[in-house]
């Protein structure tokens, strides 16, 4: 075991290497490309047995990943935003093949406008597909989560592919200290791949991914995949406990920080949650009882854990770094449906949307989010969702619009 400065992408590559990934179908996209470059280097030099093959699109890449998993090898791949969407047909398709593998998504905002920096709209677009989702807040977690993801995916009760998400730029290109576990310990935690009955062999003819006609049989197959996804929360609990025993780090389905006696809690996913932890400490110093709930699992959605940790609180501020056009924050809706009708659910459920396309959420904004949530709790009324944006930002876009010669009827005061 060594401790080194690794970028999130570097940590992801190490996760695949330690997991003995046999096959990496690849396609480059910012901000993930460093992952496949690192793996390509290791395959080329012989440090990793197996192979990396570049496909011509993410749609093909995900097809090849699922097909190789269905043939019976351990598969790793990686993508981001536009690539994830380009392959979305196959994301749904391969999940239904019930052949497990791990895919890293390095989150990046979606076109339009096309951009390069992080938010969660891309990975959340895959939430209905059947892929499980683990969300990381640090580079260490990225490496750890890949190892855990293989255990989770390949468990006989699960047999679903898993996405491990890390934020573009904030984690992908940022170096942080990472403990790289020794290969023998990893081998004990994660044994060699067992394809079970998802494989192709001459002696055992099999037809996989076949067509189904008729709503009843179709429903059966869909329900079963869903039940496996729901049940995987228990599998995850077992895997997390084993991981802690083996490596000393605990990664629960929910990372709850100073929630026990909190009156207000932030709910978030991803790397900005570390900023929220710092904000929680500052708010506590200023005399406010605030906590942070970070969902590590988004699929399966950790329903029982969430209900338990927020029970009896005065208010929740869900901070969504994503946007469902025409509705709002995705996590907000999922939290709301999880808590609806429960007697101990917090009466105030606030929605804040920010961090799109890598937009920062400053410490002052986090403090203000807490302040608005406190006020709502006092008023007994939840205000409408807030899109985080400042007067200065609006001024800036106006300047750009002048250059773009956007036609305006008249400028409003203050612009």
């Amino acid at each position: 075991m060594t401790r080194e400065l690794l970028t999130g992408n570097g940590a992801a590559a190490w996760g695949a290497r330690l997991a003995h990934a046999d096959y990496v179908p690849a396609f480059p996209i910012t901000p993930q490309t460093e992952i496949i470059e690192t793996l390509a280097g290791w395959f080329d030099s012989g440090e990793m047995p197996g192979r990396l093959v570049t496909l011509e699109s993410e749609h093909s890449m995900i097809t090849a990943a699922g097909a190789a998993a269905a043939t019976g090898v351990r598969v790793f791949t990686a993508t981001s935003s536009q690539g994830l969407l380009y392959g979305m047909e196959m994301i749904y398709a391969v999940a239904g093949w019930r052949a497990p593998f791990v895919m890293v998504n390095v989150s990046r905002g979606l076109a339009t406008p096309i951009t390069l920096e992080s938010d969660h709209s891309d990975v959340l677009a895959a939430r209905d597909s059947g892929f499980l989702q683990i969300h990381c807040a640090t580079c260490q977690e990225v490496l750890d989560s890949i190892l855990m993801a293989y255990r989770l995916a390949e468990d006989t009760r699960t047999r679903l592919p898993v996405i491990v998400n890390l934020d573009g730029f904030y984690l992908s290109f940022t170096r942080e200290p990472v403990e790289i576990p020794d290969p023998d310990s990893v081998r004990e935690f994660l044994p060699p791949h067992d394809p079970q009955n998802a494989r192709f062999r001459a002696s055992a003819p099999a037809s996989q991914g076949v067509a189904v006609l008729g709503g009843s049989p179709y429903s059966y197959f869909r329900y079963e995949a869903h039940l496996a996804a729901l049940r995987s929360i228990d599998v995850y609990g077992e895997v997390a406990a084993e991981f802690e025993a083996a490596f000393g780090r605990r990664h629960d389905a929910i990372d709850a920080y100073r929630c026990d006696d909190a009156e207000i809690v932030f709910v978030m996913i991803g790397s900005f949650a570390t900023k929220a932890k710092a904000a929680v400490d500052q708010l506590r110093d200023a005399g406010f009882a605030v906590g942070l709930v970070r969902l590590r699992l988004v699929r399966p959605f950790p329903v029982e854990d969430l209900r338990r940790v927020v029970a009896g609180k005065r208010g929740i501020a869900v901070i969504d770094q994503n946007l469902s056009m025409g509705k709002g924050g995705v996590l907000h809706a999922e939290v709301a449906s999880t808590l609806y009708g429960r007697p101990d659910a917090p009466p105030i459920l606030m929605s804040f949307i920010g961090g799109l396309g890598g937009r920062d959420i400053s410490p002052e904004e986090l403090y203000e989010i807490a302040a608005e949530t406190r006020k709502a709790a006092e008023d007994g009324r939840t205000p409408p969702p807030r899109l985080l944006y400042t007067r200065d930002e609006l001024r800036e876009i106006r300047k750009l619009q002048v250059i773009a010669e956007v036609e305006r009827n008249e400028l409003e005061p203050g612009q």
Binding site: Q282, D285, A286, Y389
Partner: protein, 297 residues
């Protein structure tokens, strides 16, 4: 500057600190301004993204403060120390940029003809910074240089070590000048000026540009470290080779058949210098050319 952040980051890490370092990808093109950042702390680091309140700013190219879009001086306060690679004095910069905090300089290398060829600015910056923060030993610095420069070969490692240590010594008088800042408290903070995002019809709010050639407003001339200068006495007034081959359309030919270089946009790629058949274009250091500005366009 990515090298600088990696060497400094590694040096901190080897000295027992938690570290977070990253390059910042803006217009990542050859010649464009780049920057990187490093955070170091005794406890796990929970901040993310670009540093808003730097304790130390290192400027590798002293033409950058004049380029607003480079954002070099953003977040600089009385607490911030500034280190500049420059031929001018610290006092001149302190005055010019109105800096309340300490200002240190590193001499830019005399023997290098083109500033973009400065291969050592990364390790030199890291070496100086290591002394300024006062918590990194020579040994940690050397090990950090070894680690980060190893892919470039042993000769590069040795030369970079030498220069890093040189810079480290140079900063002896300022050792420990850079100190840790404080987090913004949750009591008495400046509340963000949040607004309700105003609804605007798509004809305004769609990401579309309704004009031609607006890129002309971006002065890519600021990228330049070398400037091409046409010597009219040697120019043969050919079929305007220089104008044809300038990738940025920065050379036009006048009615009198004289090439005119648009210095607001010339990036200093030197293609015109290389292909002029009569060698009529000279490469001049940008800083020199600027001091002789009156003759420019």
């Amino acid at each position: 500057m990515v090298t600088a952040s990696r060497v400094l980051g590694s040096a901190f890490f080897l000295s027992g600190f938690e570290v977070q370092d990253a390059p910042r990808y803006g217009a990542e093109r050859r010649g464009a301004p780049t920057f990187a950042y490093v955070r170091a702390s005794r406890t796990p680091i929970r901040e993310r993204g670009v540093i808003r309140h730097p304790d130390l700013v290192i400027i590798g190219d002293d033409s950058l403060p004049a380029v607003p879009v480079a954002g070099v001086m953003e977040g600089v306060s009385a607490h911030t120390a500034t280190l500049i690679h420059t031929r001018e004095t610290a006092e001149a910069w302190k005055h010019r940029l109105n800096l309340a905090g300490p200002v240190m300089t590193l001499p830019t290398s005399e023997e290098v003809a083109d500033d973009t060829d400065l291969p050592f600015v990364g390790c030199v910056s890291a070496g100086a910074a290591a002394r300024l923060v006062g918590v990194i030993s020579r040994e940690a610095l050397v090990k950090a240089v070894d680690k980060e420069i190893a892919p470039f070969g042993q000769a590069a490692v040795r030369e970079n070590e030498r220069r890093a240590l040189q810079a480290y010594e140079r900063m002896a008088a300022h050792a420990g000048t850079v100190t840790e800042g404080v987090e913004i408290a949750a009591a008495g903070y400046d509340a963000p000026e949040w607004i309700q995002v105003p609804f605007e019809e798509a004809r305004i709010s769609a990401p579309a540009i309704h004009a031609a050639a607006t890129s002309v407003q971006v002065k890519t001339g600021a990228w330049r470290t070398m400037r091409p200068v046409v010597d009219d006495t040697r120019c043969n007034q050919c079929w305007w080779i220089c104008s044809t081959f300038c990738p940025d359309s920065a050379i036009t030919v006048s009615a009198e058949s004289r090439p005119e270089i648009d210095y607001d946009h010339c990036k200093g790629c030197m293609i015109c210098v290389a292909i002029c058949p009569s060698h009529a274009i000279d490469a001049v250091r940008e800083q020199e050319a600027q001091t002789k500005e009156p003759e420019g366009p």
